[in-house]
């Protein structure tokens, strides 16, 4: 396994009076796509939000490339090269596609070559370049959300359930895009409920339950072991799709 770029040790986090994370330990290997699996309410989304500094850490440490980033403000964490695509995609629907991309390029004007690459990955973005992002379809919004995350080279992408609510054809397109990112050895931490999608893309995997990581290892280990899947994820997910 490659050296880890992000590591969480004993991370606890509360939302209001509820304890959501009870000591999460997680290593994200550099240059790989790691899938974070688990049931609804296991704390996967909160884990991503906590890494971004959007949820306050009450205990434990978050380290990024060896540096302690626990409790740092969100903008500073983002500037270290971590991009986050939340579950609701978080695109600015009143802004045009172009304006969304302009903001995403934090370090100045967009690199034309890189933009062409993004257009190749997601052709609809070019087509609707000057339209309000709010008028895009669900799949196009997801493309825009991911395009924003990769318009500049980033160290780490945190992506929360990109396939949620999308049609199979679109999911297939998205998977193609992630394949390309994998080839470029971009580190990705992907939260997913769709096991087939995860199996296709994931190199390493971690499974969460009740606010903690209960299993982690190579994706192949999990994919080939039906009993393990059954134990960790329950019947539903494996047979779901």
């Amino acid at each position: 396994m490659a050296e880890s770029i992000l590591s969480l040790s004993g991370v606890r986090a509360d939302i209001d009076q509820y304890h959501i994370l009870h000591g999460v330990d997680l290593e994200v290997p550099a240059g790989e796509l790691t899938v974070l699996l688990g049931r609804n309410g296991a704390g996967k989304s909160t884990t991503l939000r906590t890494i971004m500094g959007l949820t306050t850490v009450t205990d434990g440490k978050v380290r990024f490339r060896g540096e302690d980033i626990t409790g740092q403000p969100t903008p500073r964490i983002a500037r270290k090269g971590i991009a986050f695509v939340p579950e609701n995609m978080g695109i600015f629907s009143l802004l045009t596609v172009r304006e969304n991309m302009v903001l995403a390029a934090v370090n100045g004007p967009m690199d034309p070559a890189r933009l062409d690459w993004v257009f190749d990955l997601f052709p609809p973005l070019k087509k609707f370049w000057n339209r309000a992002a709010g008028n895009l379809s669900g799949g196009q919004k997801q493309m825009l959300a991911i395009a924003r995350a990769i318009i500049e080279p980033r160290e780490l992408l945190l992506v929360d359930e990109p396939t949620k609510g999308l049609a199979p054809a679109i999911i297939n397109d998205l998977a193609g895009a992630f394949e390309q990112l994998k080839q470029q050895q971009v580190t990705v931490l992907l939260v997913e409920q769709n096991f087939n999608f995860s199996r296709r893309l994931g190199q390493s995997a971690a499974v969460m339950n009740d606010g903690g990581v209960v299993w982690s290892g190579q994706m192949t280990e999990l994919a080939d072991n039906d009993d393990l899947q059954h134990e960790l994820l329950g019947l539903g997910l494996g047979e779901h799709q």
Binding site: L54, T74, I91, F92, L103, N135, L136, G138, I170
Partner: protein
């Protein structure tokens, strides 16, 4: 939710005159209301008076726009309701008036150029003083109460009292007469050759206020629409969290907007001082009503809505003020209530939920 490859929200243009009218009314409610109001007023008075009142209404609208734009952005961007905004208007008026009085020899010369040597420092000083106070106010008063509307209302009302009292301390409790610079007094005569409206005298100051208001509206629109800061502001109005996720410090952005909004309130106050030629510490409270009506009319957070709202308020004030002076304020508030019943989010809403 299903995935389409086409854009959502494209509809075929409506057919028929009535349907087209209804579509216009729904899609451009601000233009519809503006035209409606101007047309009704034209029916109720002679055209010469109408021209005069329309220009004056636009002038008032331009000044109220300056005062209201900061408050609407502050609310839209940070969900902060600053009821002390009126105090910044008063402060700007007093700061501007002080400079004008100090440079009264320049202000009373008939030459526009020499006048400008008094006017520009006066407006600039008002801008700077109100902006600086905005900086202090945001840090000391507003920062601790983010996200709590009730406390925001309470502390900004308290803050407003303090600022008004400090104005009393510095400038004394009495109203102060403000000399309007010489070159800005008097009126332009429209050429007699023009049909119907020939020979109408238009007060210079009002024309200048209209021009300045339009210029600042244009500048703000350009900043909001074209620049990166503007995109950030619009993005922040939509989602503060996602702006931070992209790596921008929204607190800094907001502080900037708050300071700029306070400075504009001060500028508006100074212009109002030259318009009214007399100022009191409580003038801000009175103008706050117009400001509040404007931002509710326009839709909280919308610069364009704020501009049209201000023009509507200015016009209705002047039209009704001419027809029945006692009902001007009632008509202004009535306009607001009516629009709220029609469109509860205001004319050009930008706020989600």
């Amino acid at each position: 939710m299903s995935a389409h490859d086409e854009m959502i929200g494209q509809t075929t243009p409506p057919q028929g005159v009535l349907a087209r009218f209804a579509a216009f009314r729904e899609n451009k409610p601000h233009i519809f209301l503006l035209l409606l109001m101007m047309a009704v007023a034209l029916l109720m008075m002679d055209p010469r008076t109408w021209v005069l009142l329309t220009i004056s209404g636009l002038a008032m609208g331009a000044m109220v726009f300056l005062m209201a734009s900061g408050m609407t952005l502050t609310f839209g961007l940070m969900n902060v309701l600053n009821l002390a905004h009126g105090a910044f208007i008063s402060l700007g008026a007093f700061a501007g008036a002080s400079v004008l009085l100090w440079l009264s020899s320049q202000a009373s010369e008939p030459s526009l150029l020499i006048n400008l040597a008094a006017i520009l420092p006066a407006l600039g000083f008002a801008l700077v003083v109100a902006g600086l106070l905005g900086l202090v106010f945001e840090r000391l008063v507003i920062k601790p109460v983010y996200g709590d509307h009730l406390k925001q209302i309470l502390v900004t009302v308290g803050g407003s009292i303090i600022i008004m009292e400090l104005i009393h301390v510095v400038w004394g409790p009495n109203e102060i007469p403000v000399p309007r610079p010489e070159a800005l007094t008097g009126a332009f005569l429209l050429p007699d050759a023009l049909p119907v409206i020939g020979g109408v005298a238009l007060e210079k100051y009002r024309l200048i206020a209209v021009v300045l208001g339009l210029a600042i509206y244009g500048l703000m629109t350009w900043i909001i629409e074209r620049t990166r800061v503007g995109i950030l502001i619009r993005a922040g109005v939509e989602s503060r969290e996602m702006v931070e996720v992209q790596g921008y410090r929204i607190r800094l952005l907001f502080l900037g907007v708050f300071v700029a909004g306070s400075a504009l309130a001060g500028l508006g106050g100074a212009m109002w001082a030259m318009y009214r030629e007399i100022i009191t510490a409580h003038m801000g409270d009175e103008l706050m009503i117009s400001v509040i009506v404007v931002i509710i009319l326009g839709g909280l957070g919308s610069i364009k809505g704020c501009f049209y709202g201000a023009v509507l308020v200015g016009l209705i004030n002047l039209y009704v003020g001419y027809l029945e002076p006692r009902l001007a304020a009632v008509a202004t508030v009535g306009l607001m209530v009516g629009v709220l019943m029609w469109r509860p989010q205001g004319l050009i809403p930008v706020i989600k939920v």
